[in-house]
């Protein structure tokens, strides 16, 4: 995007230079310029050069029309230095001197004074701003350092907090696990106790039943009917014997 634009700008600048330059052509050489523009019509513009051409020979009526220095009075009665480009004209020199001094004074009053002041003020302002910026930068550096320290401290604290938290968590976990383990143990123990009780009960029942069966069997064997009291004493005797055997 920027490239075509710069090309276009360059081209436009070149074109304007060409136009300006072509306008400037007649600046010091007018007759030739008009002759360039109008070759047929204005040949005589090249001063009296075309004396031998048709145009001026017809017009010229004076006795010396054809001698090349006809009726153009604009540069006649020439002084000895008129044709010298290095001719020194004192009136122009004095005039230039005065104009220059006046210009210097006027510009000093209205332009150079304010401009010098303004530039000095601007320079001072820029210097101040640079100083200020340097101070600001230093202050900023200082604050940065502080913030960094604070940040580090905060990070440390966070680390600490994290560690503590982790510790707490671990402790909590251990506690929970221990509690759980304890509860499980308790459960286990209770279960074992239950089992023991149940086992005891079962064993008791088995003993009672076994004894009954044995008594019955023994009664049958001995054909002796035992009365209920004998029966009961026999059972308790057997149970005691069973219990002591176990």
């Amino acid at each position: 995007m920027s490239k075509p634009l710069s090309y276009r700008l360059t081209f436009r600048n070149l074109l304007s230079i060409l136009v300006l330059a072509s306008m400037a052509l007649p600046a010091s050489t007018l007759p030739s310029a008009s002759a360039e523009a109008e070759p047929a019509g204005d040949v005589a513009a090249a001063d009296d050069h075309g004396d031998h051409g048709d145009h001026e020979a017809d017009d010229a009526t004076s006795s010396h029309a054809g001698d090349g220095h006809s009726n153009d009075n604009s540069h006649k009665n020439a002084g000895p230095t008129m044709m010298h480009p290095q001719e020194f004209k004192s009136d122009l020199a004095v005039y230039t001197f005065i104009v220059f001094i006046l210009l210097l004074l006027i510009l000093y009053k209205f332009a150079w004074g304010p401009i010098s002041d303004g530039l000095a003020k601007r320079e001072e302002g820029i210097a101040n701003q640079i100083d200020q910026a340097r101070q600001d930068a230093e202050a900023a550096q200082e604050s940065l350092k502080q913030y960094q320290q604070q940040l580090e401290k905060a990070a440390q604290e966070a680390q600490q907090i994290l560690a503590e938290a982790r510790q707490d968590a671990e402790a909590a976990r251990d506690r929970t696990v221990a509690e759980a383990r304890e509860a499980a143990q308790r459960e286990h123990d209770r279960a074992l106790a239950d089992i023991q009780i149940a086992k005891q009960a079962a064993l008791d029942e088995v003993a009672t039943l076994g004894t009954n069966i044995a008594v019955n069997l023994a009664g049958q064997i001995v054909r002796k009917e035992l009365n209920a009291a004998d029966h009961a004493s026999l059972i308790s005797e057997s149970i005691d014997q069973f219990s002591s055997n176990n």
Partner: protein
């Protein structure tokens, strides 16, 4: 053709294309007095009268041989006026002829009488009388030709003096084209830089193209010429002078690139005046700053040398003379450098354009004119660069000379 140099030199008129400023005088009374003065018919009559008066004065001087016959002398005068290929005597009055060619005759009468005859011959009343004289009517063809030559020449009014022709003054203070252009440049500078001054005064950073553009000139001169040459403190003190010098010369140089204007810096009077400003500034500041007061400046011209007394007695005065000459020469060269560059550039441009003019009547014009226009265009670009470069060179050398003027070396 008139010498092409006249197109770049100062004059008492502005030259524009003929169609822009046509002149259509109808009678001789419409023409300016100086033009009538240079008219052949008027000069013949003038010669006639001068001869009569001169012959009378001569007769009373008692010379036995007498003056040559009137017809003979006047014919010789006419012949003299048109002699030579460059016609150096064209339009010169009879008294000039007598002074130049008939020195013995002129010397025979008293200087007072001769001065009287001359002043009578050139009196304004003579011309006015001729203009009002109905016996000497100018033919229409002559008036037309005069109109043709005067067309395109915008004459500058001359309230304080009288011109001899369009390029030379006769008497009094004549306002020339370059004087007006210098004023124009000065006016533009005051207008532009007081505008810049009003903006810079606040000390704010520059805003906008124009402000930046003009300020960059000033900062360039300050940062790249004044401060490196004079140092920081003195540099800022000399800035106003260098700014004015640079911008004035640049403006004058660029005036030459403006159509129908011209470069005042192409006149020796202008460049020398500027060099004199520099030299005088150096002298004044040197005299004030170098100890002992006033003499210090001149003593400073001599380089410091360890010499035996006898040798220094012999050598130092010579060196002092050489240094004084050098002081003037270097400032003169400063002026000549600028002049030569501007004149040379314009002469080359003129030559390139003359290529087209030379072929104006032939078929070759169709080839010559485009070539001439193209070459002139390209050379004008170069001239534009030279305008800036020479302004810079002058300013830079001026700074060096000024610095040398008040620093002991």
């Amino acid at each position: 053709m008139a010498n092409p140099v006249l197109h770049i030199k100062d004059g008492y008129f502005f030259e524009v294309p003929k169609f822009l400023y046509p002149v259509s005088h109808e009678a001789k009374s419409d023409f300016p007095l100086w033009w009538v003065r240079l008219d052949d018919d008027f000069q013949s009559l003038q010669a006639d009268r001068v001869y009569d008066k001169f012959a009378r004065a001569y007769a009373s001087s008692g010379d036995p041989f007498g003056v040559p016959a009137k017809a003979e002398l006047l014919a010789e005068y006419e012949h003299w006026k048109h002699a030579g290929t460059a016609h150096p005597n064209a339009g010169k009055p009879f008294d000039a002829y007598l002074e130049q060619e008939q020195t013995e005759l002129v010397e025979a009468i008293s200087t007072i009488k001769w001065a009287q005859i001359k002043s009578d011959a050139h009196a304004e009343s003579e011309v006015v009388g001729y203009i009002n004289d109905s016996h000497h009517k100018w033919p229409l063809a002559k008036i037309n030709e005069y109109n043709h030559h005067l067309s395109g020449k915008v004459l500058i009014p001359q309230p304080f003096g009288e011109i001899k022709n369009l390029h030379e003054s006769q008497s009094g203070f004549c306002i020339s084209k370059f004087m007006i252009l210098e004023l124009l440049v000065a006016f533009c500078l005051v207008a532009t830089f007081s505008w810049v001054g009003r903006r810079v005064r606040s000390g704010d950073p520059p805003k906008g193209r124009l402000w930046n553009f003009f300020e960059s000139f000033l900062l360039f001169i300050r940062n790249d010429i004044a401060r490196p040459v004079f140092g920081h403190k003195d540099g800022d003190k000399f800035c106003p002078l260098l700014w004015t010098i640079f911008l004035f010369i640049l403006g004058c140089n660029l005036m030459g690139m403006v159509p129908w204007m011209g470069s005042p810096t192409g006149a020796f009077g202008v460049t020398l005046a500027l060099a004199v400003v520099i030299m005088m500034t150096g002298m004044v500041i040197g005299s004030l700053r170098l100890k002992p007061f006033f003499i210090g400046y001149w003593l400073n011209l001599l380089p410091h040398m360890e010499l035996p007394t006898i040798m220094s007695l012999a050598i130092k005065p010579m060196l002092f003379l050489i240094e004084i000459m050098g002081l003037f020469i270097k400032h003169a060269v400063l002026a000549i450098r600028l002049l030569a560059n501007m004149v040379a550039g314009h002469l080359v441009l003129l030559g390139l354009m003359m290529v087209a003019v030379e072929f104006a009547n032939s078929g070759a014009w169709y080839v010559a004119a485009p070539v001439s226009i193209l070459a002139s265009t390209l050379f004008s670009c170069l001239e534009l660069f030279v305008a800036f470069l020479q302004a810079y060179v002058f300013t830079f050398l001026a700074a060096l000379f000024l610095n040398a003027a008040f620093h002991s070396h």
